[in-house]
Every structure is written in structure tokens, then in C-alpha cells.
Subunit: 260 residues, 2 copies
């Protein structure tokens, strides 16, 4: 399963999701860039873009689709149907989790495609750094932290991070490999004690699935593109459509396009 989905072309993966498959996309389409999605009405788009610009570690913008556009230079597909899962937020609450958002779409939506750390996981594996949630076939664990993002207009909220346990002797490799990918979150924002980020229990992630941290391993935290979703909640934005955390848009852009 892991091998075959890793070898899929992005268009083939998107077709499977369009046909109804719902699954985390970590490990899928090795070498191709994955992206977070957040679509908001035009009147909130400035605040979202400014929030992203002011918080580039969690919110590296890969592209922006204006005026209800559903495809663009980074993908030939359709952002309304080609992801494995979606969330619809209304008045700052999670309202629905549909598998297709065609019926929710509006002509005034502006879609932000935001870099995802799944993009550098293939490079981690190539460098000999294990990726636990790929080994286990589960979703990456993600946590809301107590570290605030920089505000932008009505958008504010906490930094969200993803976590991967890394053997202590490979932490420097994990840092140097991912530092070359600033457009997909780059180097870790924190290593070690989860408490310093306000995370009280690694076994209870806010999004995704927990993974075991073995003896001799260090929990390593990267900024996460779910951060705008946490801001949608914290800011009580009237309407937003996002991906389901861990179920990403797989683009036609290569990982190496985002490497320094």
C-alpha cells in the first residue's frame, strides 16, 4: 500500500480522492508537493494573506486562487473535489466535514494553498530519518500550542505544530534537511520538551493520530499549515472551507521546486 501510493502521479491520487477515498496523504506521491487549503470570502482574504505573510513558518503561501477559481498553475485539478476530506467552518465553529465542497462553493472565495511538511518527508526518509506516522500508516499528530501567531486584522490564533519523533543522533540531520525547505515550513520550531509549547500530553493530539516516542528519540516540532484553521476558530471567521488536517491537496509541483 505504502509503496504503491508513494509511486502514484498526483493526477491519479486526486482521481482516487475525487472518487471518494478518504485517507491521510502522508507518504503519497513521493516527490510531489502537498498543500494545505483555506478558502475564505473575498472580504476576509486580505486579513488571511497578511496573517500568512506575518507568520511565514506556519503559513508559507504557495499560491492564491482568486474569485472562486478552483485550479491554477500548481494544479490541473479542482480544489473542490480533489482532496480526501474537507472542513467547513461557520461563525468560527466547525460545521461540517464533507468529502466534496462543490455544493458549498461561492464565486467570491479566495483559496490559499499553503505549504505542508509532508513535502519534505521524502527527503527525510532519503536522509535516513525515519518518519513514524508513515511507518504506522496513520495521520501525523498535530497540536495547538500556547505560542501566539502575529495578528493581522481580525485574524489571530495560536501556532499549530506537527510532531515527528527523531532518534537523538539524527536530529541534526532532520534539522539540516528540512531547513532547505522554507516554503514548506522549513526547520523545526522546537525540539524536546513539549511543555515549552504548552503541549501537556503528546498522546492526545488536537488533530491527527498519536505516535509513540521511543527511548532515545526526541520529539521534534515543525510549524504546521493547520495554523490558519486554528485562527479561523479563534477569530470566529464567519465562513471558511479548509482541508481535513492531514488530508492534503497533492499538487503538480515538485518538492524540489520548494528547496533552497
Amino acid at each position: 500500500m505504502s509503496t504503491s501510493t508513494a509511486a502514484l502521479a498526483p493526477a491519479d491520487a486526486r482521481a482516487r480522492f475525487r472518487d471518494g477515498l478518504s485517507t491521510p496523504t502522508s507518504g503519497w506521491c513521493a516527490g510531489w508537493t502537498q498543500a494545505n487549503l483555506i478558502a475564505v470570502p473575498r472580504e476576509y482574504a486580505w486579513d488571511v494573506l497578511l496573517f500568512a505573510q506575518r507568520n511565514p513558518a506556519p503559513c508559507p503561501v504557495l499560491d492564491v486562487l482568486s474569485d472562486g477559481a478552483v485550479s491554477g498553475p500548481l494544479l490541473a485539478g479542482d480544489v473542490r473535489t480533489d482532496l480526501p476530506g474537507y472542513r467547513v467552518y461557520r461563525d468560527g465553529e466547525l460545521a461540517e466535514r464533507p468529502s466534496d465542497v462543490t455544493g458549498y462553493w461561492r464565486d467570491d472565495l479566495v483559496s490559499f494553498l499553503i505549504g505542508c511538511s509532508f513535502t519534505f518527508e521524502d527527503a527525510l526518509l532519503a536522509a535516513g530519518v525515519p518518519v513514524r506516522h508513515i511507518e504506522k500508516g496513520t495521520n501525523v499528530p498535530m497540536y495547538r500550542t500556547t505560542r501566539p501567531c502575529r495578528d493581522a486584522g481580525r485574524m489571530s490564533g495560536p501556532l499549530v505544530v506537527s510532531m515527528r519523533p527523531v532518534p537523538a543522533e539524527l536530529v541534526d540531520t532532520a534539522v539540516s534537511v528540512t531547513a532547505r525547505y522554507p516554503a514548506v515550513h522549513g526547520a523545526p520550531v522546537h525540539l524536546g520538551d513539549p511543555g515549552l509549547l504548552g503541549i501537556t500530553d503528546l498522546d492526545r493530539p488536537d488533530y491527527g493520530d498519536p505516535v509513540p516516542v521511543a527511548d532515545g528519540e526526541v520529539p521534534v516540532f515543525w510549524a504546521c499549515g493547520v495554523t490558519p484553521q486554528a485562527a479561523v476558530l479563534a477569530s470566529r471567521l464567519p465562513f471558511a472551507i479548509t482541508h481535513e488536517p492531514g488530508m492534503m491537496l497533492i499538487t503538480d509541483s515538485r518538492d524540489t521546486d520548494h528547496r533552497i
Copy 2:
């Protein structure tokens, strides 16, 4: 002169400009980040920010100051007074070139601070790559090219580049040094034949001063933060305030903050 201005602190340089000194800032305040300025009314700010996001090589956004703000996290000074020179554009025409824009300021202006290649010149010099316009004490030559930027709403226009002649055997050094600074234009966009960018005469730059290209040197072109000014003209934006090309905002942010 060159040595003393290179050793100045940003606040001291800004004080000199506030007191009326008008001069290109290349070589000033070694180790401190310089920035392009473009301020537009709020109603055009979305198009400008999207234009910047879609054209990150010429328009790397370092910060955005909203609602008429004149200072921010990157600088303790005042963007209305602390640059050596300004341009005021009205209806897509260059209207005035004042030394202070306090009298032109509006509460609805949004100021974009955009990375400047002067920021990596200190790193080039440290790597043994000569910088001709610093040697000569002149402004860097800048050229409008025939390469279009990606449009964003009403903002469109050509890529503008800066040019530095580099000895052929040091071109690889110049590329690798500057590639580490993507937030201040990064690696060159072109090397060699100016004609491929639609530049017909290196001795007649569109902004700044010409510099000689010696035998054995290659003209090397970097994306330039004057690009938004060319878009203001091409797009006939009703109002914009910018820096005078080559006369930059010197920030309190270190060059190394923008290095990968």
C-alpha cells in the same frame, strides 16, 4: 566615506536622511537589511500583496504596515522621513520626488517593505566578489526587462532587475552566496546576454547609474524591488508613494535574519 557609512548604525543613518541627506544607500550600514518601500491606499493593497506573493523573486515581502502605520517591528524610525528620497505616483505617472512624504501621507496607506539586494552585497564582498557600484560610489544600475510578472488584479508590469558585473571565475560564488538570501531576491534571474531580457543598452539603465563591464566579466542580473514601481506605472495605479530607486529604507533587522 565608504568605510564610515558602512559602519553606521541604522538609526544613525536614518537620522542623516531625516536631516536631508539624499544619497544611494548601497554600502551603508553593513550587516543591516535594506528595504524597498511601496505604500498604496488600502483599496489597492490586496492587489499589491497578491502581486508580491505571485512574484516572490522581485517582491519578497519583509513586512506590511497597515492603516497608515509609519513604523513596525523591523524599524523604530518613520517611513515618511527616514529614507534619502521618495517618489510620489499619481494616476500611473511619476508626479513628484520629495525628500520627505509627511505632507503626502494618508491614514489609509498600507506600506510594503520589500527585500533589497543591497542586503547581500556585504556577503558578496566577504566572499571576494567585487561590487562595482560600491567601488565607484554610484547607484546600482537597474533595468526594466521585457519579462512580464504574473498579474494580480489590476497590478501587472515587467520584471525590473539590478545588474552587477562579476568576473567570470567568480560567477558561481556570486550565485551560491546570494541563493542563501531568498528573502532579498536570492540567486540571479539571468547571467550574460542582456538582450535575452530585452535590455538593449547596459549603458542606459532605467534607474540608477551605469557601471563599466570589464573584459572577463559577466553581467549578472538579480530581480529588483523596483518592480512594483514599474507595475504602478504600467497599471496606472491612482496613488502610490515609494522610495527613490537605490535610496532604501535601512531597517533594524540584520542581514543574517534573511539568510537560509
